[in-house]
Point group: C2
Chain length 389, copies 2
């Protein structure tokens, strides 16, 4: 196990009707003038925003609003938010939505406290100061409600980049599984795939002797394998929604990834798919991950056999562990198909002829690599895309 | 799943040589005048205290010392610590030791900020304010490094009571597995049993549909089952020590217990054994827990079969699940024996004739109960003690 630090100071409030406590928690964490940040119409139609506002009013907390966050949130709205917060002396940002809304809120929070261009943080400058951010989560997926990360896309050149820093951890996050019950099956499945991908990126590691985090990773995956099919069948299953929602936080606040080398290349490989075809991140991951696994499997057959046995319930083939490893990947693909996810370029609507362009956009050049479990060069990524045809 | 809140704001610093960063973290969390609180001579003999002091000096942080914490820490030393902190204007307490030292430090931290008698907190008053506490952990066991709890024994009547509150969560905890390598096998095994007991008290619940926390509980137990025998065999196995140390934190910061009813009766039943015979808490738990499990098993055969299959690797007996449940308990007992723990009164040195006294001291009276999985009356507790003969 490697040395590490772990810091997850977010106050989590979980369960039915908890959005009505938003005002209480904003006050507790020092907010007196709030920017409510949200996406499209669903928060309005469901009257969620009304309930949140009523909760703030009850505590005599002033607020202004900024909606319009899109999936793959854009820098343009972030600049607008920063200006608005400064003009209105906002001291707290309340994100009401999913990962995109929360990531946009984090970007605004960091930008308000910074004299330079907020984009500097997305070019690698660590975020050390930000306005406090609270969240009311509406989809289990990105894990941004418990993480210190934010991903924003800059319109010029459509650059999708991440920022990070302890100051970006939300001060509180309200997780009410009821709010996810209205999500369509496809979005639910995309979110679930993203959650599982957050675990995989940590699970496939070259760090030895990490039994506790291996087992915690497997705990999240086993939960997803049980609960996701239940919500696909019955979107109103509160209990299954609750288990998935908490699993989504655990999958990405880094508790399951501390002390081990992580590999985020599949997320990178997927980003080019999302960028080119505007497909959901989770759907892209469903296509990329089985192909990546197949391509890198031989690097550590035992690790792939381990996940096959412990997570996918395969019998260990002691005479031929590679067969077990392959069977695990096969079961993962069957699982994805069963919850309505695409697993090929064809199902996703991606085109073989675009592969060279996507590889090029990754910017690896002749000798650059991505990932750590198996460092991948451009030619490797090309083969991974081809395995997904 | 029940509604819950979860708040674990401790900054964890994990790995080799991390005690040398103590000064850095004291400074970061606002300490300028520190009380170093510790137990007996091992922290001195190992030169751990010297390294900690050097680290504080490097940051120009003043400090004073108070040693002498005993297992089952006493209120007398807490009063002394409170007086000392007030006299010397201490603004930060650094606990160097195991659960007893940390619990004593937490009691002092709460007492300094409180005008009344600190014991009020151990009579049920929630702790809402305390001096910041940092910890340098020297044994994986109690989980106090990540929890908001503290247990202190009052000399008058030897009352052992717990206090709780968010203000008692350490601001930082330094976990260096190297510091645990010098522990004797028996103490290591006692600590491991305590860790597993913290999971069991959460696992056996009447709350339905808690797959994510079930799985996280199982992850910790599976890790212990793999790693503990390795350190008993080879105390210098850093990697196994590391996995156990992090598992010990995860077992008790309540991540694995949120959203579900918990049952702490085995801890209560054990306290009387420790109090009467001055045996280690972990050893007492090794005697009490299998007996408690045997006694309550029929309340939920499926849950006991689940742990038998998922944790103890039993084959499910579909024709007779009770046999599977029993086999799980049997394997737990074998595991305890294999790591050198007692599992009977006889091995522990406890006496059958003291059972009525211990039952009486629990103070349940005629109709009182303890625990929630199966609420236990005095006559039930008596039978549990007898099952452990």
């Amino acid at each position: 196990m490697n040395n590490f630090t772990f810091y997850s100071p977010t106050y989590f409030v979980f369960g039915r009707k908890t959005e009505n406590e938003a005002g209480h928690y904003v006050k507790r964490f020092g907010g007196s003038k709030v920017l409510i940040h949200y996406g499209g119409g669903s928060a309005i139609r469901s009257r969620l925003l009304d309930r949140v506002k009523a909760s703030l009013e009850k505590e005599n907390i002033e607020f202004i609003e900024l909606g319009g966050v899109k999936p793959n949130p854009r820098s343009g709205l972030v600049y607008e938010g920063i200006d608005l917060c400064r003009k209105e002396n906002v001291d707290f940002i309340l994100a009401v939505g999913g990962g995109s809304v929360i990531d946009s809120a984090k970007a605004i929070a960091a930008g308000v406290k910074y004299e330079g261009d907020f984009w500097d943080f997305y070019e690698g400058k660590p975020v050390t100061e930000a306005l406090p951010v609270g969240t009311i989560l509406t989809i289990a997926a990105a894990g941004s409600e418990g993480s210190g990360d934010s991903v924003i896309t800059k319109e010029e050149g459509m650059l999708k980049r991440g920022a990070g820093g302890e100051a970006l951890r939300p001060v509180f996050s309200i997780l009410n599984p009821e709010l996810t019950q209205t999500l369509p099956a496809y979005q639910t499945a995309c979110g679930a795939t993203d959650i599982m991908a957050h675990v995989f990126e940590r699970y496939f590691t070259n760090t030895k002797e990490v039994e506790i985090t291996d087992r915690l990773c497997e705990a999240v995956l086993l939960t997803m394998i049980k609960e996701v099919p239940r919500v696909i069948k019955d979107p109103n299953n509160y209990e299954a929604r609750a288990n998935i929602m908490w699993a989504g936080m655990v999958a990405h606040n880094n508790l399951v990834g501390v002390g081990r080398e992580q590999d985020w290349s599949s997320h990178g490989i997927e980003h080019e798919l999302s960028a080119l075809y505007d497909v959901a991140h989770g759907a892209g991951l469903a296509v990329v991950f089985p192909a990546w696994m197949t391509y890198v499997m031989k690097h550590d057959i035992n690790r792939f056999a381990q996940i096959a046995v412990r997570v996918w319930g395969c019998e260990m083939n002691f005479a031929n562990p590679e067969e077990t490893a392959k069977e695990g990947i096969e079961r993962f693909k069957q699982f994805l198909t069963s919850i309505g996810m695409p697993i090929t370029f064809k199902e996703l609507g991606a085109k073989e002829e675009d592969i060279p362009l996507m590889v090029e956009k990754l910017g690896l050049g002749e000798n650059g690599t991505m990932g750590s479990f198996v460092p991948l060069r451009a030619k490797d990524v090309e083969q991974i895309y081809r395995l997904a045809l």
